[in-house]
Symmetry: C2
Amino acid sequence: MMSKDFNDESAALAATVMEYMTAFMRGDVPAVLATYAEDGVLMAPIGPAVEGKKQLAEVYPGLFAAVDFNLVPKVKEVLQTSADWGFVRTATEGTQTNKANGDTVRTRYLELFLLRKSATGAWLIARYSTTQNGPEA
Amino acid sequence: MMSKDFNDESAALAATVMEYMTAFMRGDVPAVLATYAEDGVLMAPIGPAVEGKKQLAEVYPGLFAAVDFNLVPKVKEVLQTSADWGFVRTATEGTQTNKANGDTVRTRYLELFLLRKSATGAWLIARYSTTQNGPEA
């Protein structure tokens, strides 16, 4: 086991992820974007990788216009791997509603967030992958 | 920009991911498992997170028995973030065939691999998330 040569900031990593999650559930685009680094990348079931804050700013409004998410995230793991990198795993469960037709389905997601410490000391989402299990049969 | 205080082993990170991918496409369970760390975790559309080599050894045979994958991965990004951690992003496209009924669909995946350097110097998959786009309409 190696000794750590950096301060443990794992609580700050988890806090950024929970900020993202709560902003996501209320469909708050500016608050969602504030949790991403400028070069942040989203990998999700909705399509190709969304690369950089400009693309992210184009994708989230359409997502929130189409779907109402009502999911509860649980933090499964937080690990800071260096002075300025770390990751968080979450599992998320609940319902989502298609706003066009009102259809609601139960669904689950698994999330893997890579976070990087910014020059100002904030932990921001650098790479984020979410994979969907369900809708349940 | 910080100077790196570690040797760049990004080629080795990418090599492990390509070993995983080629083993996965030929349905080779032992070769797939050899690319994972003991505590490796898989997050995929197939169900809950698969945590640790014992669970992984139970899940992959069933997956390969059910589905024939014929996908081509492209490496999108490789970044070593410390002496013993790094990540690789890939995008994967092709077809998969349900072995029970022969149905073949075109599909795409996005993969995010977190790799950790083992005590023996091998880069192994520590956390891996794959998200599916498609089947295409």
